[in-house]
């Protein structure tokens, strides 16, 4: 058989055929009004986890998602389709000064549909900082461990049994040569084909994203899903929300259409992500007596170092992230100079071409090295120091969100140090040349030359290429309403029937890829909410 395997199962298509209640709002012929026990805004890591638990608890759930419902039979491993179909702003979302590019999912399953499957529990050092600084006394390693464990079982998060691809192995080998430890990344996959196209939507349904796990489970138990419905406003009466109002998008999937979708509910779970959730609350005029809403948004600002290796790397093939290095998080105290986590990105032509510096022949020559190019990324652990206050979510004149995240000198310092750490590792692994991804940099053929150049690179926006795949914060969790939007149970400090169960609750960055932190915390919070709403013990998850 040739072509794309028509015989690969598509559990979403099967569920739809079996009668799931799923509506594409861009095909509505009139307004849609729904009633529910709980309305969930957003279907990513937080919303998906919440939907399954609440539905299992016997509650009537409506899930609202601004992106499309697309599934494996539509995932063709093509960047030119995946970015416009599945990502916020076609994978070209930018901060206000355009200094940071943000990769965020915009589809049913949210970022879990397009992430690279790296799964880490919230680091103990992060939790203890939250306890100390934000009064989150309950959120201890021991308290959260069973919630992480249950979501690990639910999503098949396990050690990856295959050897890392060459792209990841360069990080392992280079670090080992320097005596720097690395470790293997656990992944949320089941029967993974090791293709390397997680970022374009998994074509084999091996990735245990919300799209193929919790959302199908919720739909099979009678939950309702409305896709291409963009939540615009919560209707607030005193300290309660009565209704969420959405605009049904038109056939383009990005512009407002003619009709409205509104959902009345007893309780509202906000899970539209660290940019979407604060924006929805801001548009709604939600109470914010201490001006905390939309503040302290963190990104793990990330810089990139490419290396030309003596042999083939094929960075587009194989599990994209399987090795990580936390050494540079631990070389100083958590609230000292900024630390960074090292990982590896998959190298696909479109994203590589738009990320690389330069144009014309210089750029074309670098692209010609695609098969023997390796890359490391350094994710800065922002938010743990007074000089790292993160960004702020603002609203554009049309109500859409804009993240203002000025990169402080404190963060620039970490980015510069990271260029050097990555170059050292790449040369130790045998790189022929190393290229910091910076408009003013070129390939350097010795560590000495790279070190001298990195020392002098102007650390300015849109010269240094800075990216983020991890938007966090904006609805900070904290015991004291004066410096937080929600409490340690995710309940809004001022609105009685609103909970926030997504990455926006983190009071700092996580210091690791956030998906499992969101799953674990959302599972705990949702279980407590289910018990409170039903008066019965919460259902078992897995």
């Amino acid at each position: 058989m040739s072509g794309r395997a028509a015989s690969l199962p598509d559990p979403v298509a099967e569920g739809l055929a079996a009668g799931w209640s799923a509506t594409n709002a861009s095909k509505l012929a009139g307004d849609l009004r729904l009633d529910a026990d709980v309305a969930i805004v957003g279907t990513g890591a937080g919303g998906g986890t919440a939907a399954e638990i609440l539905t299992k608890a016997g509650l009537r759930v409506v899930m609202l998602e601004e992106g499309p419902l697309m599934s494996s039979s539509a995932f063709h491993m093509r960047e030119s389709e995946a970015y416009p179909d599945l990502y916020q702003e076609s994978a070209a979302r930018k901060t206000k000064d355009k200094g940071i590019a943000i990769l965020q999912g915009r589809c049913v399953g949210g970022s879990t549909t397009v992430n690279w499957t790296a799964s880490f529990r919230t680091p103990p050092a992060t939790l203890s900082y939250w306890q100390r600084v934000f009064g989150l006394k309950e959120l201890t390693v021991d308290e959260l461990a069973p919630w992480f464990a249950v979501m690990e079982r639910r999503l098949s998060i396990e050690p990856w049994p295959l050897p890392p691809n060459e792209n990841n192995d360069v990080l392992r080998r280079g670090a080992a040569k320097l005596g720097i430890p690395t470790a293997a990344i656990r992944r949320n996959v089941k029967g993974c084909w090791n293709l390397g196209y997680c970022g374009e939507g998994c074509p084999t349904n091996a990735k245990q994203s919300m799209l193929v796990t919790t959302i199908p489970a919720a739909l099979s138990r009678g939950a309702v899903l409305v896709s291409r419905a963009s939540a615009q406003r919560l209707v607030i009466a005193k300290d309660r929300v009565t209704e969420v109002q959405c605009v049904a998008l038109d056939a383009s999937g990005v512009r407002p259409g003619a009709y409205r979708v509104s959902v009345k509910a007893r309780h509202f779970v906000l899970a539209a992500g660290a940019i979407g959730t604060p924006a929805l609350l801001l548009r709604s005029g939600a109470p914010d007596p201490h001006q905390r809403l939309g503040r302290r948004t963190f990104l793990h600002p990330t810089c990139v170092s490419a290396a030309i290796m003596p042999g083939r790397v094929d960075g587009y093939a194989g599990a994209p992230q399987s090795v990580y290095c936390d050494h540079f998080l631990e070389t100083q105290p958590i609230d000292g100079a900024i630390g960074y986590k090292l990982e590896v990105p998959p190298l696909h032509p479109l994203l590589m071409a738009t990320t690389l510096q330069g144009y014309g022949r210089t750029h074309a020559q670098l692209m010609g090295h695609l098969p023997d190019t390796q890359a490391i990324i350094a994710l800065q652990r922002d938010g743990f120091n007074p000089h790292s206050q993160g960004g702020r979510v603002l609203l554009k004149s049309d109500g859409s969100p804009l993240l203002d995240y000025p990169i402080s000198d404190f963060v620039w310092d970490g980015l510069r140090r990271a260029y050097l750490s990555m170059a050292e590792i790449q040369f130790a692994a045998g790189a022929k040349s190393v290229l910091p991804i910076h408009e003013d940099a070129m390939p350097y053929s010795s560590l000495q030359a790279a070190r001298e150049a990195i020392k002098r690179l102007p650390m300015q926006v849109i010269r240094a290429r800075v990216l983020s795949a991890h938007a966090m914060g904006g609805c900070s969790m904290g015991s004291d309403a004066r410096n937080a939007v929600v409490g340690s149970d995710g309940r809004h400090h001022q609105l009685d029937n609103v909970s926030v169960f997504d990455g926006s609750v983190f009071p700092t960055s996580v210091g690791a890829n956030p998906q499992l932190s969101i799953y674990g915390l959302a599972a705990r919070q949702t279980s407590r909410l289910a018990q409170w709403l039903t008066g019965r013990p919460a259902p078992a998850i897995a």
């Binding site: 030119s80 702003e89 355009k98 200094g99 330069g358």
Partner: protein, 147 residues
């Protein structure tokens, strides 16, 4: 003035703005496009259509920003003053276009750097998202899933 791809139903780019891209694309992608003039011209048209498609899929507020950039480049006065390109785009030499890109790329004004980046990203994405570009960079393309 010559029209660029007049028969195609563009969703976003006006005729004047297509001439900007017809001048900028061959310089931005110099060394990456087919050498044969006729094939290169066809490829540039494909890339311009790809840019149009990409912009039409962006949210309105972002589209407006891109629209402002293209309008600024297409309007003769701002082309001369802000971009520093003296002659109309279709008469501008590759050297003049390259000098313009280089000024904006390394400008001390973040606004001009971001405008350069918008052009770079749109053009690179349109070309390297297109399978026509893959043989030259030895990218095998996504695997075919047999069962």
């Amino acid at each position: 003035m010559l029209a660029v791809d007049p028969g195609f139903a563009y969703k976003f780019l006006h005729a004047q703005e297509r001439t900007v891209l017809a001048a900028v694309v061959p310089v931005m992608l110099s060394g990456a496009l087919p050498e044969d003039p006729a094939r290169q011209e066809q490829t540039v048209v494909q890339i311009i259509r790809g840019v149009d498609l990409a912009v039409s899929g962006l949210p309105s507020s972002v589209q407006d920003e891109v629209g402002e950039l293209f309008a600024l480049l297409a309007f003769p006065v701002t082309r001369r003053i802000v971009a520093g390109v003296a002659s109309p785009w279709l008469e501008a030499s590759p050297a003049a276009v390259g000098a313009f890109l280089e000024r904006w790329r390394l400008s001390r004004f973040a606004l001009l750097r971001s405008a350069y980046r918008a052009l770079q990203e749109l053009i690179m994405a349109s070309w390297y998202g297109n399978p026509m570009s893959w043989p030259a960079i030895a990218y095998p393309g996504p695997p075919v899933l047999h069962r």
